[in-house]
Subunit: 496 residues, 2 copies
Amino acid sequence: MSAYQQLEDTRKRIAALNNALGILHWDQETMMPEGAAPARAEVLAELQLMVHELQTDAALPDLLDAAEATSNTLDDWQRANLREMRHRYLHANAVPGDLVQHIVRARSESQMTWRRARPDNDFAALAPKLDALFQLKREEAAIKSEVLGVTPYEALLDEFDPGRREAHIDAIFDDLGAYLPPTIARIRERQAAAPAPLVPAGPFPLAAQEALSREIMQVLDFPFDRGRLDTAAHPFSGGAEGDVRITTRYSEADFVQSLMAVIHETGHALYEDGLPEAWRGQPVGESRGMTLHESQSLLLEMQAARSEEFLRFLAPLVRQVLGGNGAAWEPDNLVRLYRKVEPGLIRVFADEVTYPLHVILRYRLEKAIVSGDIATGDLPGAWNDAMQELLGICPPDDRDGVMQDIHWPEGILGYFPTYSLGAMTAAQLFATATRGEPGILPGLAKGDFKPLYRWLDTNIRSRGCLYTPDELIEQASGQPLGTAAYKATVERRYLG
Amino acid sequence: MSAYQQLEDTRKRIAALNNALGILHWDQETMMPEGAAPARAEVLAELQLMVHELQTDAALPDLLDAAEATSNTLDDWQRANLREMRHRYLHANAVPGDLVQHIVRARSESQMTWRRARPDNDFAALAPKLDALFQLKREEAAIKSEVLGVTPYEALLDEFDPGRREAHIDAIFDDLGAYLPPTIARIRERQAAAPAPLVPAGPFPLAAQEALSREIMQVLDFPFDRGRLDTAAHPFSGGAEGDVRITTRYSEADFVQSLMAVIHETGHALYEDGLPEAWRGQPVGESRGMTLHESQSLLLEMQAARSEEFLRFLAPLVRQVLGGNGAAWEPDNLVRLYRKVEPGLIRVFADEVTYPLHVILRYRLEKAIVSGDIATGDLPGAWNDAMQELLGICPPDDRDGVMQDIHWPEGILGYFPTYSLGAMTAAQLFATATRGEPGILPGLAKGDFKPLYRWLDTNIRSRGCLYTPDELIEQASGQPLGTAAYKATVERRYLG
C-alpha cells in the first residue's frame, strides 16, 4: 500500500472517531440524562485520546515525507488532501504532550470557574485561572509560531482559519473600526426619525415556534432525511458526516431570536451537507475553516434571510404559523424590526451593523493577551474602555462585560475574528452570486433558494478543502476578502 | 505497570468504544434520520474493527500469561476480572480473521435477504443465504469447540451464557417439554370454563400510553436521571454504562403489549444500572450473560408485575391514566386478561406458559443445524411438525413459521435457550427472594419495589461477573438452576 494510501486509512479512522464524537456531543446537549455526565466525560476523553494518538503516531512523519516525495503521482484532490494532512500533523505535533496536558487541565479549571464566577460577577475569582491558562497558551503560541513560521497570534488563529495573517485582519478591522461608529450614528439618527417598529406581542407557544422553525427549514431545503432539529441550551450545528443536526432554543416572549438562530444554523448545516461526498472522511472533504463556515451561516441569516425580497416572503408565513394579527405583523413593520440597529452590551444579541465592533474589541484585546502586553487583571478596565470607544456604552458589570463569552475561559484565542471575517465573506459572496445569477433574488422573494444554492454548491460547498480559504474566496468572488460588499449592504439597507 | 494493569487499561479503552457504540446504536434506532444510515454503518464498522483489533492485539497472550502467573497478588474481583479477560480473549481469537470476515459478509447477505423474503413468505429465496451462513457457523463452532474443550453447540452458546452445558439444558427442556403440553391443556380447560376476560376497548391515544409508561417506570424506580424512554420499531434496552436507555412501541388498539414491554426492558435496564460502579469499564463489572440478563427482565415482567399483589395495584393506575371505565377495567378482569394462556404462532407474543415450547422447538432445531443433522431446506417442514407436536398448531406459512425471528438470519445460534433459562432463573430467584424477605410481596401490593431491589442488589446486580452464571444462581437461590420454581408459579397462578 502506498504511503499516501496508508495516510488516507489513518484519516478514515480519525473521521470515524470524530463522527462518533459528533453524535455523542449532540446527544450530550440534547438527549443525555444529566446523571450520565461523568460516565460520558470518560468516554469522550478516551475517544479524544485515541484521535490524538492517531494524529501523533510515530509512523506519520515518514509516511508524510514519502507521500510528498511522490506527490506527482497524485491528482489535484489527493495533493490537496496531503497538504491538509501535513497541516493537521503540524498542529497536532507541534506542542509537547506535557504542555497539552497542562492546557487541558488549566482549561477545565478556568472554564469551571467561569461557570460559577460569571453569575456572581466575580472576575477576581476567575482571573488567576485565566492567567494560568493564558500563560500556557502563550507557550503554545510561541512553539507553534516557530514551527509554522508565522506570528504567535497567527499560529493560534491558523487552527481556525488556515493561512490568515494579522496584517489582513488589521486592515479589515481598522477599516471597519473607522467606518462603523459614524455610520451607526447616522443609521440611529434615521431610525429615530422613522416610526419605531412595533414588537409583536407574545407569548408565542413553544410548539408553534417549533412548527415555524420546521416550516422555515423546509423553505431553506434543510435535508430532513439526513438531519434533525432539536432544542438545546445554546443553538449549535453538529452531528456527523451525512447526518447534520442543528438545535435552537425558544423563548415564549420572543420568536425572532430562535427563528434567526434556526436560519443561521441551517446555513452551517447546509455547508456540511454540501461538502464533496466522494471525500468524506478525508481532510480535503472537510469544511474550509471557521471564516468560511461562518460565512455560510451568515450568508443565509444576514444576507439572504434579511434581504427585502425574503423578508416580504417570510412575514406572512410567520404571521400565519404564529397566528399573529395587527399592524405589528405587517411586512413593513417586520422589516424594520429585523433591521433595528442598536449598540448593546452582548455580542450574541448584536445586529449585523454593531456586531463587528464587538469582534474588533476582542481581537485587539486577545492580540495583547497573546503578546503579553496586557495583564489579565487589567482586562475588565480595558474591555470597558474599548466598549465606550467603539460602541459608546459601558457595561455596568463584568458579567455582561469581559466575562460574557466562554471563549477565553476555554483557552480559545484567535477564534473571534472569524465571526466578522465570515460576515465580510458572506457579503462578498452574496454580492458576487446575485450579480452573476439574476435568478437568485427573485427566487428568495418566492422562498425558492435553489438558484442561490446552485451557486454556493459550485463555488463553495463542493470544493471542500481543495483550495486555501483565501484562494477559495478569491476564486468564488473574483477578489481578495475585503469590506466593500459588507459596507455596500449596510449603505443600501440602512441608509439607502 | 503490571501486566494486569495493562490489561485493565486495554479493557477501559474497549469499554469506551463499546459505550460509544451503545449510544450510536440507540441513536440509530430512535433518532437518526433515515438517510444517514450508510454513513452511520461505516462509523459503526470502523469502531467495531477497533474493538476487534484491541481484543486480538498481539501483546495480549503474554500479558494474560504474566498476569495469571502472578494472580496470587490480585484480590477476588481482580482475579475474576482476569478470568473474564481470558474468556473474552479466547472467543475473540479462536476464529481466524478470514473466517470472521466471511461470516460478517454472509450474515449481512442473509439478514438483508430475510428482510425482503419474510414479507414475501419466500423461504426458497432465503435458504441458500442461510445455508452458506450456517456452513460458516459450523466451522466457527468446530474451531471454538477445540479451543474451549466443549461441544460445538456449547461453544456457540458459551458467548451468551458462559459455562452452560447441553446436558443441563436438555434436562430442563425435556422436563418442560413433557410437563407443559398437558398442563396447558388443563389450564385452557379451566380458562374456557371461566368467563372470558373482557378486552378494554381502544383506541388508546399514544400520548396517554406514553404517560402510562413513564408512570409505571416511576413506580419501578427507573433512574430517569441516568436513563431514558423512547419509541423504536422494536423494544430494546441499550445505551451505555451509567446511561441506560429503553424503548417501546405503541399500538392504539392495545396498551398491554407496550406496558409489559416497558416493564420487561426496565428490568434489563435496572440490572445494568445496578452493576458494580467501581468495576465499570472492566469485564468483571459487566452483566453475567444473557440467561441472567433475561432473568432480570422476566423477574420484573413475569414474576413481580404479573403477581396478584402487583396486578391489583396496577389495575386502578392503568384505568386512571388511560381513562378507562366499566367492567373490563376491574382488577379481576385485568388479572384474567394478563394471564390468558393460548398457544400461538409467534414467540414474541407468547404468554409465560406457552413461551418455553417456542424456545424448545428452536433449541432442538439449532442443535441439529450446528451438528449438520438437518438440511437447511428441511427446516420449514421440521418447524411445522414441531409446532404441531409441542403447541398443537401449524403455521399457515413460513412468514409466521420458520422465518419469524431474525436470530438465525443473523447467524445467532445458541441464544434462544437463554430466554427460557432466564424464565426459570427468574422464577427460582423470585421464589427465594420472597421466601427470605417477607416484605417483598406486601411491597409490590403498594407499588413499592425497594424490598425486592434490596435483595436483587445484594444477590445479583452488585455481583457483576464475580462468579460464573451457575455459581451466581446457586449462591443466590441455594440450588442449581431447575424448573421447580417455574412450575410452582404456573400451578399457583393458573391451577391454584
